[in-house]
Amino acid sequence: MAITRRTFVGWLAAVAPASRAWAGARQPVLPTAPLDPALVRAVGDAVLPSALGADGMRRATDAFQTWVDGYRPEAEVNHGYGTGTITRTAADPRPRWTQQLTELEAEARRAHGKGFATIGVGDRQTLIRAAIDASAQRRPAGGRTPSANDIASGAQPQTAESLPEIARAPHVAIAVLAHFYESSEATDLCYEAEIGKNQCRPLAAQTQRPTPLARRRG
């Protein structure tokens, strides 16, 4: 969707007072064309676990779209103990990811004569695997040796195997995965237990072994 000058000015008027009020230092979310929702869902259906079910996959890709819409390039990143370096979030990944979705669509039409969203999940996975293998795994910028805190918090250097920081994902399919697997829901699904990571939960309950998901659902 093209953004007109009037839309942009109206958006600025709405955003500016709020952003001043709550932080002052934050970069505003820039209006950029959203990712094609049908293609994002088609990617999600191919890369997310089937245990989520159709509703769960839809929820996960909608959450990813919300994340994308809220992304602020060049925003100041948290800086804690052990460093005087101020770093910023990566450049806007949307243009790169939009291009990759377009390429998946084109490749599906070339190979199968149909759009990406209409070919089978197995065929989609094949195209995505090829695209991921073709995309270079990029390492995050910055040269500081990671501390024990960095490693423990997951801010460790990327390896070829690990899921990257979402915005630095070299391919949109990896970004969908990285976003979902950061979630509390993904951790619960993996452990098949109601851990509720990073959720507000009663302190006293932390002494108990997490309830199995199946028991809760049953």
Binding site: T89, Q125, Y191
Partner: protein, 546 residues
């Protein structure tokens, strides 16, 4: 003519030490207290849930404008400069230094003793714990002496930590719940921790103490005046005496207007970097090396502790995410065994998800998608990872120092600090032995648990930095006395972290607070005591904890 603000006590800096000193002084003394802070005000508590959401989602700094462009230094450990200081995003971990930390020279012939003992400081440890609200468990008395119970019951061990405690028991290491400035019950008008698990950098509900709570109370009660965005550029000594006459400042919103603070007592509370920097940059023809620096020791003996860490795989199931910032702790290694070479360290144990996170590629390099990825992750989480870490003390060297960098200038034209960290030769000689001993301990722990070391390393920086204006009884080898009073200027105090003689083997904040509260007794001594029993601005809730 500069605008002049007059007061009884001028506190420069608004970090956690300044907050507790101001609170104590306003409770106990009739004195007008003005607090000057270079940074911006802290965002309100109401904004923190959204700040945390963006930190979690995007990694963004949850504290808005929390540093000043151009005010930095190479090797500085943190850029936080705002109302509340670095403790706005601390982890809330509050061990006390151990009794041995204050007497390493007398006991072990290494380093330097402090001009006070643990017993001298014990009431102030307790006071600090009560003021900020610490939840803790009494460790074995012989290792963890204290005269009164913690003000709050301990944060309960998570199910994960309870499993790990069985392992450390098997290793014959007594461990207990890490004392923390996080509410296990309603305390100070703040709610109980609900395990959001982002204590550092931001607690979204205020269950973790941060200094803005104290400042907000004091400001609401009009007990102090706090002036943010006001940078003290130098202290000026009165002609004909050694008293500090005024602090020259600049209001960052009105940079062309001169602003002076005149006070009976000046308290420098700028932390380990900006406190010595202010003293040094206050140099003049009469004091060419800066104020309080007749000894030449301002900026010297920067100190901290280094750590050895490991991630250990154990053949048990844990559920990472129950409360990853909570840990077990021990003080069992604070005393070197008799007749053995000096090694002292703490030890903490956490749940961890390191090497148990989902991955994009399997062992053969194949991209994992859909159910394959989840199956691979599930298979790799059948066993547990634990994180272990030991802080060991580094004996500070005179040339572990902060000096003025005459090349790099602040936006206001003043020399910036230049920081160099250096171990004392005693520490250089001990380093390999110390780190080997800790690594051997980790290897023994792994073996006892039928586990394996997955990754082991040393963080080379010195954590919880302190020093730079160290205290001592001898004016020739220290900057301030045991109460923080400058040897050279009777109405100048330096408080908290910069006055530490050494960095100990544990997180330093509670010790910085204890010495600050002890220093406050001397800062306030010449002001009249409040006649009525002080109506405490603290509002701890009754909790029935014995």
């Amino acid at each position: 003519m500069p605008r002049t603000i007059e007061c009884d006590i001028c506190i420069i800096g608004s970090g956690i030490s300044a907050a507790l000193i101001a609170e104590k002084l306003t409770e106990e003394r009739d004195a007008k207290v003005v607090v000057v802070e270079a940074g911006d005000d802290a965002p309100s508590l109401a904004l923190r849930p959204e700040s945390r959401r963006r930190f979690r989602a995007y990694g963004e700094n949850p504290w808005g404008i929390d540093h000043i462009e151009g005010l930095t230094a190479d090797n500085i450990q943190s850029r936080s400069m705002m109302v509340g200081g670095l403790a706005m995003h601390w982890g809330g971990v509050t061990p006390r230094f151990s009794p041995e930390d204050f007497r390493v020279k007398s006991l072990y012939g290494v380093g330097n003793d402090w001009p006070m003992t643990y017993d001298d400081l014990e009431p102030f440890f307790q006071e600090a714990e009560e003021r900020i609200g610490v939840a803790g468990e009494q460790g074995p008395k012989a290792l963890d002496p204290r005269s009164k119970p913690f003000p709050m019951p301990a944060l309960p061990l998570t199910w994960n930590l309870a499993q790990l405690k069985q392992w450390t028991d098997k290793c014959e290491i007594p461990m207990w719940s890490q004392p923390s400035a996080k509410n296990s019950v309603v305390y100070g008008g703040r709610p109980v921790c609900c395990r959001n698990d982002t204590c550092s950098p931001v607690c979204p509900i205020g269950a973790k103490y941060s200094p803005d709570f104290t400042w907000n109370r004091l400001r609401s009660a009009k007990a102090i005046e706090l002036m943010p965005r006001t940078l003290v550029k130098r202290l000026v000594v009165a002609e004909g005496s050694n008293r500090i006459d005024r602090a020259e400042a600049v209001n960052r919103d009105r940079p062309n207007e001169s602003l002076d603070f005149r006070a009976k007592v000046f308290v420098v509370a700028g932390g380990y970097a900006w406190s010595p920097h202010l003293l040094l940059v206050s140099r003049s023809s009469r004091f060419p090396n800066g104020v309080a620096n007749r000894s030449g020791h301002v900026g010297k003996y920067l100190t901290g502790h280094r750590n050895v860490f490991a991630f250990i795989s154990l053949p048990t199931r844990l559920y990472p995410g129950l409360n990853e910032q909570h840990s077990l702790v021990t003080k069992a290694f604070m005393r070197p065994p008799k007749g053995e070479k000096y090694v002292r360290h703490d030890l903490r144990v956490w749940e961890s998800s390191v090497n148990r996170r989902p991955r994009l590629r399997g062992d053969g390099g194949r991209v994992l998608l859909g159910d394959e990825l989840l199956s691979d992750w599930r298979a790799r989480t059948q066993q547990a990872t634990t994180r272990v870490r030991a802080y060991y003390d580094v004996i500070p060297d005179r040339w572990s120092e902060l000096v003025l960098d005459d090349v790099k200038r602040s936006p206001w034209g003043d020399p910036l600090p230049k920081i160099t960290w250096r171990d004392h030769p005693e520490s250089v000689e001990l380093r390999a032995h110390t780190e080997d001993r800790i690594k051997q301990l980790f290897a023994r722990m792994a073996k006892t648990g039928d586990g394996q070391i997955m990754r082991m390393g040393v963080d080379d920086f010195q954590d919880h930095p302190a020093g730079g204006c160290r205290m001592g009884n001898d004016p020739a080898t220290s900057v301030v006395d045991g109460y923080g009073r400058a040897h050279d200027h009777e109405n100048l105090f330096v408080v908290g972290a910069p006055t530490c003689v050494s960095g100990g083997c544990a997180n330093g904040t509670l010790t910085f607070l204890a010495i600050s509260l002890r220093q406050a007794t001397m800062i306030g001594r010449d002001f009249p005591a409040k006649r009525a029993a002080p109506k405490s601005l603290r509002t701890p809730e009754p909790h029935g904890h014995a």
